[in-house]
């Protein structure tokens, strides 16, 4: 029973062509996160939502945007993907921001050509 679902699992996009990744959850968690993970590196937090409150990390490029239209769904928009944006993008949810474990989706592998 998948609880955090990411679509698509694999996405190929052209350099500079906008792309949207999606995430849905059945856990009814308040917090949703987007992480970027490159090969053999730690997941890096891009931003998170606490309910509708958006929190951007200071070093997240402006090229990355997010939307959370309701509790269940969250989207990651990359406005003009560059070659350096090729990575695994991970969506996660948690019940609260303080001390609660995060549950991850299976990720979307983004390739930029």
């Amino acid at each position: 029973d998948a609880m955090v679902i990411q679509n698509p699992r694999y996405q190929v996009t052209q350099f500079g062509k906008p792309v949207t990744l999606s995430c849905s959850q059945t856990l009814n968690h308040n917090v949703m996160y987007w992480y970027q993970q490159k090969s053999s590196q730690a997941p890096k937090l891009l931003f998170h939502y606490y309910d509708k409150d958006f929190n951007n990390e200071a070093d997240t490029p402006d090229n990355f945007q997010s939307r959370r239209p309701n509790t269940s769904f969250c989207f990651l928009d990359i406005r003009s993907p560059g070659l350096g944006d090729a990575a695994m993008y991970l969506c996660a949810t948690s019940r609260t921001r303080a001390g609660a474990e995060a549950f991850f989706g299976q990720g979307t592998r983004l390739t930029v050509v």
């Binding site: 929190n55 990390e57 996660a92 990720g107």
Partner: protein, 112 residues
């Protein structure tokens, strides 16, 4: 300076050969330490949460322990299906909203 350091980067074990993975952290106050397992091409799978020094959690062949500066993930008599990358993450205790900070992981290979 990295807040979370995992060692070794990679570990190769024979089936049945027990060992430990290390996660050291430098946050001033710890709200929680989390262990995850990540298989290639997949998202991290939650294993344990530890909140205070001296706490221990177990699941099958895995046991996680916590001190004031580090955590260990002990693997007893590992099997090939335990092969994965094990990630450690910490959350700092402060008045703001602090996200999980991950280490780079330990890539474990268990050979039959």
């Amino acid at each position: 300076e990295d807040q979370v350091t995992q060692s070794p980067e990679a570990l190769r074990l024979q089936e049945g050969e027990s060992s430990s993975l290390n996660c050291s952290y430098t946050v001033s106050g710890l709200r929680g330490l989390f262990w995850y397992r990540q298989d290639p091409g997949k998202g991290p799978e939650f294993l344990f949460t530890l909140y205070s020094a001296g706490e221990e959690k177990e699941k099958e062949r895995l046991k996680a322990t916590l001190t004031k500066k580090e955590s260990f993930l002990h693997i007893t008599a590992p099997k090939p299906e335990d092969s994965a990358t094990y990630l450690c993450a910490v959350q700092e205790r402060n008045s703001g909203n602090t996200p999980l900070v991950f280490g780079k992981g330990t890539r474990l290979s268990v050979i039959a």
